[in-house]
Every structure is written in C-alpha cells, then in structure tokens.
C-alpha cells in the first residue's frame, strides 16, 4: 500500500547545507529520493514554517514561482510551477512578508561547475500566524535535538541505566543515518546546538515584541545579529565565485560524489531574474538562484 512520506522538521540553515541525496531501494525512478541533512534527518519531504520574504515569477511561457523562505537560522529558495497549481497560486497571492507554512520536497541541483544547491519544490504553501510559526520552531527544535542526541550517543557509549529525564530512542534505526551524515558533513554538534538555541531564542524575542508592535515588526527575525548561527555570518561575506556562501566544504565533496540522476545540470538555463533586494542582508543577486529542474 502506498504510504505517505513523513515531512521532516529541519531548520533552514541546516537544510541549506544539505547536499547528500540518494534513492532508497531499487534503481527504478519510482524509488523514493532522500536528502540526508547534517544532523541525520532523512528527508523525502519537509515541513517548514517561516517568513516568505520575496517572490518572483521566473517562468517564461508559463508561470513559475520562486520564493525565499526565512527562519531564524537562515533562508532557502522554494519553487512552484504548473505541476503544483495550489502552491503556485498561493505563492503568487500571499503578501510579502508573511508567515507561511510550506510542505514540499527537498531538491538538490548541481550546477555545471559542480556546486550543489538545495531548494524546496513546494507541494503546499499556506499563510499562517505567528503562533503557528512559534509552534513549528518548538517542534523543529525538538526533532533536531533528538537527532543530535542520537548523534552524540554514538560517540559516547550510553548507559542504559534509568535516569529520570533520560531520552531514549528505542528504534535507533537512524544510527546508520547519523553515521552517514557525520561522515559526509563532519557535523559539528555544538554548531547545530547553537542553531537550535538561536531558533528558540527567536520565539522569546518575538513574543515580547508582539505585545507592543504591529505584525509587520516580525519581518526577518533572522537578521538580528545576535540570533545568527555561525554559518549565517558567512552569508554576509562577499560570496566567492564557485563556492556556496554557507557550504564551505562543497567543492571538495562534489568531486567524490556521483552526479545524481535527478540533479542533472541543465545546460544554458542559468538565469537571474527579478531579484529585488528586500533585505540588505540577504543578497539575492549573489546568492543561489540557479533554476532547478522541474
């Protein structure tokens, strides 16, 4: 029986760095595609609630919408075209900025020069409120911590002795994924711990602001310097050609990876359209605006 894939909760700084994708099971094109993140989330689908900070129609004959979604840790591009009519319509209509919930498939596009760019192909986009956004941060933090705790437990042989508050994961099926993620990304646990704390502290700040300021005041929480993760600081640096601003290891890794069947480069399809600057800190024109293969 068909069973729907779970939508993983991953903060955007982490998702953006993810580039290890593979198919599970047989080689057929129907085998599910997964993206493994640095903390070991195996994503065929993701659910993110963040702020839609910009959007453009980058299609030629038909509408093809691209938006930028930000959470307190980073941002990512989301796409919706003619095969995602509802998501496409929502992306076209929602005012900027707004809190939005996005359900979609992560997608890794490899450029001709071997860079890998991760984005989300949206299945559903829905405007939501701050409260929902806060709940998502809570949930994403919980899931991320669960993964990090598992990853840590691989290093430190864990006592099975009972202690109140001990978090125990009986189906440790992701131990393998944790190892794989660690091997690929050399995941620094404390960096991701910091990312989680950054996201959680954004909730506090905004609850305080909410009482005294209109909704528009919540735009771009991620630009507060004190809530940025180490990875995000790099985003402000002038991007080096051929290198992802946040993905410091992409170049060395790209060589060792086989090109993925579904991330084939599309020759001559590079475009840079409609990249209005909404925020001076998120520089679209220098950022990853490769169009992905739909």
């Amino acid at each position: 029986m068909y069973s729907r894939e779970v939508a993983r909760r991953v903060f955007l700084a982490e998702l953006k760095r993810s580039d290890l994708s593979f198919r599970e099971g047989d080689d057929s094109q129907y085998a599910p595609q997964y993206l493994l993140t640095p903390t070991g989330a195996r994503c065929n689908r993701v659910f993110v609630v963040g702020t839609l900070i910009e959007r453009d129609d980058i299609g030629e004959e038909v509408e093809y919408w691209r938006g930028r979604l930000a959470d307190p840790t980073g941002s990512i591009l989301i796409y919706a075209g003619q095969y995602q009519p509802e998501a496409s319509r929502a992306l076209a209509e929602i005012e900027i900025p707004s809190f939005v919930a996005v359900v979609g498939k992560p997608s890794v596009y490899e450029t001709e020069d071997g860079r890998k760019i991760t984005s989300i192909r949206a299945e559903a986009v829905q405007k939501v409120d701050l409260d929902t956004r806060n709940k998502w941060i809570i949930e994403a933090a919980r899931r991320t911590l669960e993964r990090l705790e598992l990853m840590r437990s691989i290093d430190v042989p864990q006592s099975t002795d009972f202690r109140p508050g001990t978090i125990y994961h009986p189906e440790a099926t992701t131990v393998e994924d944790c190892r794989k993620a660690r091997g690929h990304y050399s995941t620094n646990i404390s960096e991701y711990k910091q990312m989680v704390l950054t996201a959680l502290s954004a909730i506090r700040k905004e609850q305080a602001i909410e009482e005294s300021m209109p909704a528009e005041a919540h735009v771009m929480p991620e630009v507060h310097a004190e809530t940025r993760t180490p990875g995000e600081v790099e985003m402000q640096d002038p991007p080096v050609r051929g290198k992802l601003p946040v993905d410091y290891e992409a170049d060395s890794r790209a060589e060792s990876l086989k090109p993925d069947a579904y991330t084939k480069p599309q020759p001559g399809r590079r475009r840079q359209t409609g990249s209005k600057r909404i925020s001076s800190l998120v520089d679209l024109e220098n950022d990853d605006i490769e169009e992905i293969d739909i």
């Binding site: 779970v6 939005v100 809570i138 099975t160 125990y168 009986p170 189906e171 989680v196």
Partner: protein, 405 residues
C-alpha cells in the same frame, strides 16, 4: 548453596545450632521433591527448626539498619525512615503500602491488616522497630507486622529523593515525557525486544487508549504476560516518534489485578496537517449506501440523487510519523466555523464547490492540532480535534535540553 547457608547462619544468630546437612536435607526435600519455590522453602525450613527447638521467631534480634543495608529476606530490622509515598492497598490483607526512604535509598513497605497497626502518614518520619525484610524477584521490601513498634520522629529524615510522587493516570491523560504516573492497564501485545537493554516491550491499554511500554533489563522486574492486567506504580512517561510511551524502571511497582480492563484502541497524535486529500469538503453521498458519489454516480447503485455531506480527509504529521485522518461533518463545521448549510450557500454563490475546500485548506494546512480517535485501516477516525497550544514550558525544557547537549 546460599539459601542453606543463610538458614544456618540465621539459626545460629538465634542461638540454635543445627548441622548444615540437616538443613540441606530438609531444604532439598521441599525444593526437589515437592517443588516448593526456594524462597518459600527457606522460610519453611527456618520455621521448622525454630519450632523444633521451641523458639518463637519474632523480634528477638532486630538490628538497626539503613535501607541500602537490606540485602536479604527474613531479617528483623529497625529503620529510621520517612514515608515518601503511599499506594492504594492492593489486597484486603494489606492495610497500607508505600515507599520508605532514608539517606541511603528507598524501599517498599507493606503493613498487614492483621498487624492492627496505626496508619503511617505520607511525608512523616518514623522509627520503625521489628520490621521483617522480604524479597520478591530481587527487590526488597519491609513488612510491618504485629510486633512492629512505630514511633513518629519529630525530626525529618533526609531521604534519597523519590523523583516525584506519581499520580493516577489514564492512558489518554499522558501528555508529555518525564511524568511519573500510576496506570491500571492490560498488556495488549508483547513485541520482540529491540535491544539487549530491553527485557520486554509492547503495548499497554486501558479504557481510554493504548500506549507503548518498555521494561528495562536493568529494572529487574518480573515479566509481564500478554492479556493480563496490572496495576503499575511509578512508571515514567517518554515520547518518541510523536507517540508517548511508558518505561518500567527499577522503582516501578507492578501488581497483577483481576479487575477486567476494556481496552480502547484510540490513538492520539499531535502535529501539523500537511495535506488535505481528494474527496474532502462538500461531497455528495448515495442516499442508500452512503458511499461518496463519483461524478454523480454511486459505484453500487448507479445514478442517484446524492445527499450532501461535509468531511475532511487529511494527513497529520509530527515530523516522525504521518497519519491519515478522517474528520466528520460535525467536527469540520466546528473547525471552519461554518455549518454545512452555510457551506452549501457559499458554494452555490461561487458556483464552485472548491471554495469550501479552499476555506478548509486555509484553516487547516500548516496548523498544529491534537487529534484522538480509533484507527480503522489507514484512517484515524477523529473523535476529537483541537488546536495544539503553544507551550512555554516546552520552550524552556528545550532550551535546557539544547544547553545540556
């Protein structure tokens, strides 16, 4: 043979000299020939020789001990301890049961009804003279009997902390990890342990739902039997994959109960609605068989005049599991704030049923709900659905959890 040596040394403490051979002979007779459990045999042999020598067993030689010094059954001890918690009496023969603590640990106690002793009060400290130690499945307890002397202390015994006093719960009440609870539940299913550190795992159920359980190998607890019902005290709740579970640990007290428990297969899941499926919204059903019509046709009865219904088929997802849910008209009306009649009018005005669907998507997609109901095939039939609240408590717990990483 440890049991035999214990009997001999007990007897010699009581001033009775019996040869090891005699003790062993008697002991073997009971254990080997009459299949008496070793512990029963031990007690019986002890009593046999006491009786033979005309010595009455009681509080001749009770020693002052700390809880962690209690290492064998059948000893007479004096304890200074605090009553950490009290349980409902599991049997009419027992007038009180609970947990005592001192600075070295905790121990279960039982007060026999026949002892005719006054009740102990939770939180108070006592000097208890002439308690008898007991053992069951490697766990020790002390028994208050007729010869026990109970004196309340006016100072507080500092005791090793019992994490929290457990509250009586139903499965449906379990709402977060780290809760200490008491549960009256039936073992619905046992599964193969997924790890060496787990002795048993499976599913417990009561009238309100089912919950997974894990029994640690280190808990040294007796094995549970599928289909039987138990009263569990001091279980700890946990959460994994969006589902709650309970852990049987070393301080859990398990008693079998004869009381029948009707298990409900309700499940609860909290998460975000990530998809509204086809066949949601304003639909028409066959008036005869209630099946939804497809293009005005019933698969069974052909072309019929359909009757309206309002329902939602959706997927709710917590990042670890995803569950298809079916929400009926009454609950959809509450969720979207429209009656079916109003929804029909809305669709009529727009000349499109899709407007109702769009409204449903707007109200549900990406939002967090807690749903409860029985699971039939792939769908959870929603009995109750409510918006999941934001929890400040979760926030601070997660912050400290992250900091502790």
């Amino acid at each position: 043979m440890k049991d035999i040596e214990q009997i001999v040394s007990r007897l010699s403490e009581l001033g009775i000299s019996v040869s090891t051979e005699d003790v062993e002979k008697r002991y073997r007779l009971l254990v080997d020939k009459f299949q008496v459990p070793p512990r029963e045999a031990q007690r019986s042999v002890l009593n046999y020789f006491l009786k033979e020598k005309g010595v009455a067993l009681p509080a001749r030689k009770s020693e002052q001990v700390k809880i962690n010094q209690i290492r064998e059954p059948g000893r007479w001890v004096d304890l200074e301890a605090k009553v950490l918690s009290l349980f409902d009496s599991p049997s009419p023969a027992i007038s009180q049961a609970g947990i005592l603590g001192d600075e070295t640990g905790n121990i279960r106690f039982v007060k026999w009804a026949k002892s005719e002793q006054p009740d102990l009060v939770e939180g108070r400290s006592y000097l208890l003279r002439n308690l008898v130690t007991d053992e069951f499945q490697g766990r020790f307890s002390v028994k208050i009997n007729r010869s026990t002397e109970i004196a309340e202390l006016d100072r507080d015994i500092e005791s090793a902390v019992l994490p929290q006093s457990s509250a009586d719960y139903k499965v449906v009440d379990i709402s977060g990890p780290g809760q200490w609870i008491n549960l009256r539940a039936k073992v619905v299913q046992l599964w193969e342990p997924s790890s060496d550190s787990i002795q048993q795992q499976g599913l417990l159920g009561d009238e309100t739902g089912v919950v997974r359980f894990v029994k640690w190998a280190k808990s040294e607890q007796p094995d549970l039997v599928e289909g039987r019902s138990y009263l569990f005290r001091n279980l700890v709740t946990d959460e994994f994959q969006g589902r709650f579970s309970v852990k049987i640990n070393r301080s859990t007290v398990i008693e079998e109960t004869e009381e029948p428990i009707e298990v409900s297969l309700n499940r609860r899941i909290s998460g975000a609605i990530v998809d509204i499926q086809k066949g949601s919204g304003l639909i028409k059903r066959c008036p005869t068989c209630k099946r939804p019509l497809s293009k005005g046709m019933c698969a069974e009865h052909g072309k019929v005049e359909g009757v309206y219904d309002l329902r939602v088929k959706a997927a709710i997802d917590d990042g670890l599991i995803v569950q298809d849910i079916l929400i009926n008209r009454e609950r959809v009306e509450e969720l979207i704030g429209l009656t079916m009649e109003q929804a029909k009018e809305m669709a009529m005005e727009a000349l499109d049923h899709e407007v109702v669907l769009a409204l449903i998507e707007e109200k549900l997609i990406g939002r967090y709900f807690e749903v409860t109901g029985p699971v039939r095939d792939r769908y959870l039939l929603v009995d109750s659905i409510k918006e999941m609240p934001f929890s400040d408590e979760d926030l601070s717990l997660l912050v400290s959890r992250a900091e502790g990483l």
